[in-house]
């Protein structure tokens, strides 16, 4: 601007004050926009429940991969076809971070009507009254569970309330590398071998193939749990632990023995395999001849290796295993559309077309009649295999234990820490066991 001309209010300079009204209007506009923005956001957020045109939108949230997303979306579309008034807001994501998101949504007062959950968190949510009790729907027949195995249904009950409906059944499975064994002329392991026999077998595999015979599962709560049940103990008993420090010491010593004999990989590789990620399981990364997984994970494991895999029960008496709900569908207690949400769950469990679509992606179908249909229909070899093994194991299943209690996720983390302390030689089995039990007591007390 020209230095000689100085603008003042009384003598408006052409450039600066020509349009005070415009300026004011502009300011007001801006202000309005700023104020309105969040409102627009809120309006958009409120738009979800709609319902003014007789249509209902049900929000549903699950974890899983692309394949599961596709199958689930198709099954839900089928529901919309049969019930045109109901549409879905589907959200899904990978397992990691799922429960953070679910907790955050719940805290924000915006939880989905239907959500997928597993036994690690079911009691956490049920104990805090986040899940709707489905018992009344079961009693009135709106939720048909007559075709479910009773023990599977029971595994969704927390404090006498039906907190979740199993969306699939699975059980522990010891997966081994068949190709490796055949190539080296080694016997395949069989269900019913004792733990000692299993370790001896693994030692033989290590010696002959150079690949460690078995992943050390001492950090794996599900292996520990099966072993405990075989000793007449349990992971939990009421609101307390179902085992003592002596039990844990025995468990850790069993595996210290196995490591000393060279039956397992080195601690750092064991640590790698302790990740829950399927692609990191040692049996598919070639760092061990076995991995301790769930039977229904077979098809996913198969996708990560060219080797042929076999699956059997964990060692010891197979009645230590049970019909476990691989995951559940639960309904949020505050859902405005609870009746419809329950109907959707009922549909996903009992509608022949939906169940056929979903297959065994979440585990064996809970509805026994439809389970037979699905296993007859499937063409996926790995799926056939896992169905066959699980059906066979089902004959020797023991009774379901109680659903893991509040604090379980912490207990799992503490088991891993204690077991790894022993594996890396930073603590003796007895010291690690004592630490673990103490940490568990603090975890389940709070």
């Amino acid at each position: 601007m020209h230095p000689a001309t100085h603008p003042t209010a009384s003598a408006p300079d052409g450039r600066t004050y020509r349009t005070p009204q415009l300026r004011r209007r502009l300011l007001r506009g801006l202000l309005a926009a700023v104020v309105a923005l969040p409102l627009v956001g809120m309006a958009a957020a409120c738009g979800d429940d709609a319902g003014s045109d007789g249509k209902t939108k049900i929000s549903i949230f699950w974890w899983g991969g692309d394949a599961r997303a596709q199958l689930t979306e198709q099954a839900l579309d089928l529901y919309t076809q049969k019930n045109p008034d109901v549409t879905f807001e589907k959200t899904w994501q990978a397992n990691q971070g799922y429960f953070d998101k679910l907790a955050t949504l719940t805290a924000g007062g915006n939880p989905p009507d239907i959500f997928q959950i597993d036994d690690n968190f079911l009691a956490e949510y049920a104990a805090r009254n986040t899940t709707l009790d489905l018992k009344p729907y079961q009693d009135s027949g709106k939720l048909d569970t007559t075709k479910f195995p009773p023990s599977l249904l029971q595994y969704g009950v927390v404090d006498g309330k039906l907190a979740g409906v199993a969306s699939g059944e699975n059980t522990q499975g010891l997966v081994y590398n068949k190709t490796l064994l055949v190539k080296n002329d080694l016997p395949e392991p069989t269900t019913g071998m004792s733990w000692e026999e299993h370790i001896a077998w693994a030692e033989q595999v290590s010696k002959k193939t150079g690949v460690p015979g078995t992943q050390d599962p001492s950090a794996d709560y599900k292996a520990f749990w099966v072993w405990l049940r075989q000793q007449g103990k349990d992971l939990y008993s009421g609101t307390d632990l179902g085992f003592t420090a002596e039990d844990v010491t025995k468990w850790f010593e069993l595996w210290k023995g196995a490591r000393d004999r060279g039956a397992t990989p080195t601690p750092d590789v064991i640590h790698e395999g302790n990740a829950t990620d399927i692609t990191k399981q040692l049996v598919v990364t070639g760092k061990s001849a076995t991995s301790w997984v769930w039977v229904n994970q077979m098809p996913e494991l198969k996708k990560n290796t060219t080797d042929e895999l076999g699956v059997i029960a964990y060692p010891g008496d197979p009645s230590g295993q049970w019909a476990r709900a691989s995951m559940y569908w639960s309904v949020f207690r505050g859902s405005k559309n609870a009746d419809i949400a329950v109907d959707v769950i009922n549909f996903l469990a009992n509608d022949p077309d939906a169940v056929k679509l979903l297959g065994t992606d979440r585990g064996l179908p809970s509805n026994l009649d439809l389970r037979r249909v699905v296993s007859d229909d499937t063409t996926d070899e790995a799926m056939k295999q896992s169905i066959a093994v699980e059906t066979e194991l089902a004959e020797s299943f023991g009774e379901s234990p109680q659903v893991p209690i509040k604090g379980h996720s912490k207990v799992r983390a503490e088991l891993t820490k204690a077991a790894e302390n022993a594996q890396y030689g930073r603590a003796t089995p007895a010291e690690a066991a004592a630490q673990f039990v103490e940490a568990c007591k603090a975890a389940i007390a709070s």
Partner: protein, 327 residues
């Protein structure tokens, strides 16, 4: 501001010529200015209030409760100082995470600053192609908290990673660095040090500000390179060193991403990478003890504030501001 004030640099000076007009004029302008100021500030202001200030105050409140995320806020129970008591008296993993974080910051931050200053000195010359090198050294810090970088790091430093293959060239047998509880944290420190680009650029800018006469005078007085560095460069650079030290210390304490990725969010192997922030995250979101996690966050905030205050109060003994106003 441009919307309301006349972009006339002479206005302030001219006011003395016509005081009346000026007072009236600016008064009215100030009124509009203030409003416009707030309007333009509002995105930030709303952000500060809504996203930072209110949640912070809420977390202060929650730190005195047993809030567990799933229970509605209206039903939380006031537990007084119980969370703070538990932290200091009966939570070994809290103390452990404090130790891990302190050793991380105490080692990684000074080494990172030394690396940044060293490379900045090397690159503060008029070599051909020096710009390229500046860019290359700066690059890693652009990837800062990235998850991808942490994944690359894990793959480079595991048992059959690139680093061990490199060691094997010299017949050295490596370790499973990231999966070894004795080395996992050190691996993270190396990652942090390697990302020295941001402080390096600031050091470079600082070096450019040092008047060359000082070096000339020093060399006339017979000072060698080392003497010049100690007596000219370091004092002249001390405000920049101070700035970098404060910033990097705060950053160092808050390290999260790499530890999270390396350990799959567990702080393993055997809690060796359980940084304070990671422990806080696990407590809040996995164990669902958000009240307790809030208390942890507040203690953390106070600790960092305290350390910063210590820096500022010692600063006047060693930070030299060339404009003569020691502060």
């Amino acid at each position: 501001m441009a919307l309301t004030t006349a972009p006339d640099p002479t206005r302030r000076g001219s006011g003395s010529v016509r005081p009346d007009a000026k007072r009236r004029g600016t008064g009215r302008i100030r009124h509009g200015e203030g409003l416009a100021g707030y309007v333009f500030l509002s995105p930030w202001l709303i952000g500060l209030m809504g996203i930072t200030a209110i949640p912070m105050l809420l977390s202060l409140y929650l730190s005195f409760t047993n809030y567990d995320i799933l229970t509605p806020l209206s039903e939380v129970e006031w537990v007084g100082l119980a969370n703070y008591e538990r932290m200091f008296t009966s939570d070994p993993s809290w103390w452990h995470s404090v130790r891990v974080t302190l050793s991380f910051a105490l080692i990684a931050v000074p080494l990172k600053l030394a690396a940044a200053l060293g490379v900045a000195l090397l690159l503060n010359r008029a070599w051909r192609g020096v710009g390229l090198f500046r860019g290359l050294f700066y690059l890693p810090s652009l990837l800062g908290g990235s998850v991808a970088l942490a994944i690359v790091w894990v793959n480079m430093f595991n048992r059959d990673g690139a680093f061990n293959s490199f060691l094997a060239l010299f017949g050295i047998e490596g370790k499973p660095w990231v999966n070894d509880p004795d080395w996992a944290l050190e691996t993270l420190m190396v990652l942090a040090i390697w990302q020295f680009g941001a402080p390096m650029v600031i050091f470079l800018a600082g070096l450019k500000q040092v008047p060359t006469e000082l070096y000339e005078a020093a060399s006339v007085d017979g000072a060698g390179r080392f003497r010049q560095f100690v007596n000219v460069t370091l004092p002249m650079l001390s405000p920049v060193i101070f700035f970098n030290l404060v910033l990097e210390t705060i950053n160092g304490f808050q390290g999260f991403t790499a530890a999270f990725v390396l350990s799959n969010g567990t702080g393993g192997p055997v809690d060796s990478t359980l940084m304070y922030t990671l422990n806080l995250y696990i407590t809040g979101f996995t164990d669902l003890e958000m009240g307790y996690a809030s208390a942890m966050a507040w203690v953390f905030l106070l600790a960092i504030a305290l350390i910063t205050v210590v820096f500022f109060s010692t600063g006047r003994f060693w930070v030299h501001y060339s404009d003569g106003e020691d502060s």
